[in-house]
Amino acid sequence: MHMPFLPKWLRRFFKNENHSETLAFFRGIPIFHGLHSGQLGQVMIAMQRRHYTAGEKLFEEGQPGKAVFIIKSGQVELTRHSPDGGRSLGILGPGQMFGEMALLEQMNRTATATVTDDGEIYLLYTATLESLVREQPKIGVKLLRNMAIMLSALLRRTNKELDRIAKGGA
């Protein structure tokens, strides 16, 4: 809490003890890099928290994507349909984000997300983020820059994979 004009006892009275801990958690998520405490706080307020139990499906492949998910605790498995049943794309844990393509374009989900370990997940609806970006363009610039960096890194990795496959096949 940054309110230096208040006396110390009053700052202690108003201070939310869990806030710093939650801020530290979100600061570790790549999309939020570079946001200062106040900006991060505004993004946090825009999020919705939900407890999930193992076996619950967050979304299914083919459904329209409307939100991005951030795992606070627990684990989530991403799977994709394949001719021989479901193919696991990986298991995600605390501090990892998924469904971020929904932030850029409202296309259908390309995988199914199932909770494998009970935990808490934050959801951020795309339109909420859009209105936050409209109201606070400085936050928007940082978020979009981080997303561009993430996508660029993913593209580089995909190019390397394709290169490796092409060389292997040759």
Binding site: M1, L23, A67, L104
Partner: protein, 355 residues
């Protein structure tokens, strides 16, 4: 399994029908609860700003709540007695105004009949203006806030509204968390979308309308008071309320102010002043209040607002008039979320080479 789902759906629909029936039976009891939740909803963004800076929600709610309550009570203490006095005075004068107006109309009718009697004979009587201000006044009073006030138990409301608003503000986040925890996982994304869309449309609209209406009301009241109009504060408040309906404030409000000003015996210069004031308010509203306060947050088309207001008045009288626009905004959002699909156009074509 299918049979189980069928019975679950039947049970849910039955429960909803019973709940709707009970709500219809006791809807007047729910009014103060609705107002309390509405106040909390309007104040919520202010609380969220502090929360984002690491301030404890419960404590900032207490402080802000005490401040807002003090402000409201102070405003009520200052302005309410003046408004009540003005309302009593206008209420007392109203029959006299109506009688004067009817006499004027009768005189006009007699003039018309006299002028056309020579050429039209007895048929000239059909040309008379069929208007009686007293009848209109009776009709208006039948649907005025008095009608609503019949439901109000102000002593009880004065306790319930602040109580509900306080608990909604301090516990609102927990209630939302509980709602999401209770909602089946497959519907969480849709519920989140629905609430976010309703909030962005409705919240911005209501807050914007309140600020815009407030600006219009203050300028009107100040202008009328300067012109020596009796009941300036009451007219300012009425203009602010009328501002909810497109064009109603400048046309109906302006015409009524001119008429009342005439009956109060104001000089011609003051009547011209009233005309100019409402013109100025309209221009201020169009070029300053709406662009700076409402911006592009109004997602409802003016024709839709007009239709909603007329339909609301037809169905629910004064209460229908008040809730018509927010209800139409919610309906529009729900339809948009259920049937709408937003897709961005592709920014890359097949010829683009990623490097």
């Amino acid at each position: 399994m299918n049979q189980l789902r069928f019975w679950k759906a039947i049970f849910t629909l039955g429960a909803l029908a019973v709940a709707l029936y009970v709500l219809c039976q006791v809807w007047t009891v729910l009014i103060p609860f609705g107002i309390g939740i509405g106040i909390a909803y309007l104040v919520q963004p202010l609380i969220a700003r502090f929360e984002a800076r690491g301030v404890r929600r419960d404590r900032i709610v207490i402080v802000l709540y005490a401040g807002l309550l003090t402000l409201c009570v102070s405003l009520a203490v200052i302005f309410l007695p003046v408004m009540v006095r003005e309302a009593r005075q206008i209420g007392g004068d109203l029959p006299r105004y109506a009688a004067t107006f009817d006499t004027m109309v009768e005189r006009l009718n007699a003039d018309i009949a006299g002028k056309f009697e020579g050429s039209l004979g007895k048929r000239a009587a059909a040309l008379r203006i069929p208007f009686k201000a007293e009848t209109v006044m009776d009709r208006v009073l039948a649907v005025s806030p008095h009608h609503l006030l019949g439901y109000a138990h102000f002593g009880l409301w004065a306790i319930i509204i602040p109580f509900v608003a306080f608990f909604t503000l301090s516990q609102g986040r927990r209630w939302m968390d509980a709602l999401f925890d209770w909602t089946p996982a497959e519907y969480v994304e849709s519920l989140l979308g629905l609430l976010a869309e309703v909030d962005s449309t409705l919240g911005a609209y209501i807050r914007g309308q309140m600020i815009e209406g407030g600006c219009v009301g203050v300028v009107t009241a100040a202008g009328l008071a300067l012109l020596g109009f009796d009941g300036a504060l009451l007219f300012g408040a009425a203009t602010a309320a009328m501002n909810l309906v497109p064009m109603m404030a400048p046309i109906v409000g302006g015409a009524l102010a001119l008429l009342f000003g005439y009956f109060q015996g104001l000089p011609t210069s003051a009547l011209i002043g009233i005309f100019c004031l409402f013109l100025l308010v309209r221009l201020l509203d169009d070029f300053i209040f709406i662009p700076f306060v409402l911006g592009h947050s109004v997602a409802l088309h003016p024709v839709m607002i007009l239709f909603a207001v007329l339909a609301g008045f037809e169905i629910g009288g004064f209460l229908g008039l008040v809730i018509a626009v927010p209800l139409a905004a919610v309906l529009k959002v729900v339809i948009g979320v259920v049937f709408g699909e937003r897709r961005l156009s592709p920014v890359l074509d097949g010829r683009h080479i990623v490097s």
